[in-house]
């Protein structure tokens, strides 16, 4: 009914507060009946009696876009109906309660998008060169391997 729509794959690194609304707009499409979204936030936690007060993120920026491109290619190969993919990711300090990552995927029908986002968040954490450090109220800190 409409001309073929360009597929959008957007990854943005940002030192500032992330806007859910912007991520939703980036994936919106009149041909999609479903948007699946994931928000990862810094949560209150106790680690060996120390209270987590925030996370510190760093990235190897030159490789972020190329790894994201591979991730999107993988997603589209598995779920060809996936329309747009958008990820906003924080860098630097992210205090408790704040979002460090927002990912959204739009698709004509919901099941494809829901399966795709589950896989995509797992792959994001495994392959995109971004690392996080937990910072505690005791002033010390610890780099995290991907366990979540």
């Amino acid at each position: 009914m409409t001309e073929k729509e360009e597929l959008r794959d957007v990854f943005r690194l940002s030192p500032d507060w992330l806007s859910v609304q912007e991520v939703l707009e980036a994936v919106s499409s009149p041909t999609c009946g479903a948007v699946s979204l994931f928000i990862g936030t810094t949560r209150e936690d106790l680690v060996d009696g120390r209270k987590v007060i925030g996370l510190e993120y760093e990235a190897y920026e030159p490789m972020v876009q190329s790894e994201f491109r591979k991730l999107c290619d993988d997603i589209r190969a598995r779920w060809p109906s996936v329309k747009h993919v958008c990820v906003y990711h924080r860098l630097g300090w992210v205090g408790v309660g704040q979002a460090s990552v927002i990912m959204a995927i739009s698709s004509p029908h919901r099941l494809d998008g829901q399966q795709a986002i589950q896989h995509a968040v797992t792959q994001l954490k495994a392959t995109i060169p971004i690392w996080k450090k937990e910072v505690y109220d005791t002033q010390d800190s610890s780099w995290k391997q991907n366990v979540e």
Partner: protein, 88 residues
């Protein structure tokens, strides 16, 4: 083989913490070189740096290279990334 003129080595996350260095410029790195030999070469520069090989990955030319027999070619000014296997 040859020696590359100058390579920029970037350490991230726990790797930076363990070496105490985030970025260093290294001259006369043999090339081509297996990723394992490159890793040993870098380890020698940081005697206090002990890390579990299974938890570390290199990246060259913006491609991950696991530590093993794979040959990498380094040109002048190339970046080598040393980082924990997985992110956050």
């Amino acid at each position: 083989f040859f020696y590359s003129e100058e390579v920029c080595v970037l350490y991230f996350a726990k790797s930076a913490e363990l070496t105490g260095v985030k970025e260093e410029h290294v001259v006369a790195v043999p090339t081509p070189i297996t990723s394992q030999d490159l890793w040993r070469f870098l380890l020698q520069r940081h005697p206090r740096y002990h890390d579990n090989v299974g938890q570390v990955v290199l990246a060259v030319h913006q491609q991950y290279v696991s530590i093993g027999d794979q040959l990498v070619t380094l040109g002048d000014g190339n970046e080598v990334v040393v980082a924990p296997l997985s992110g956050g």
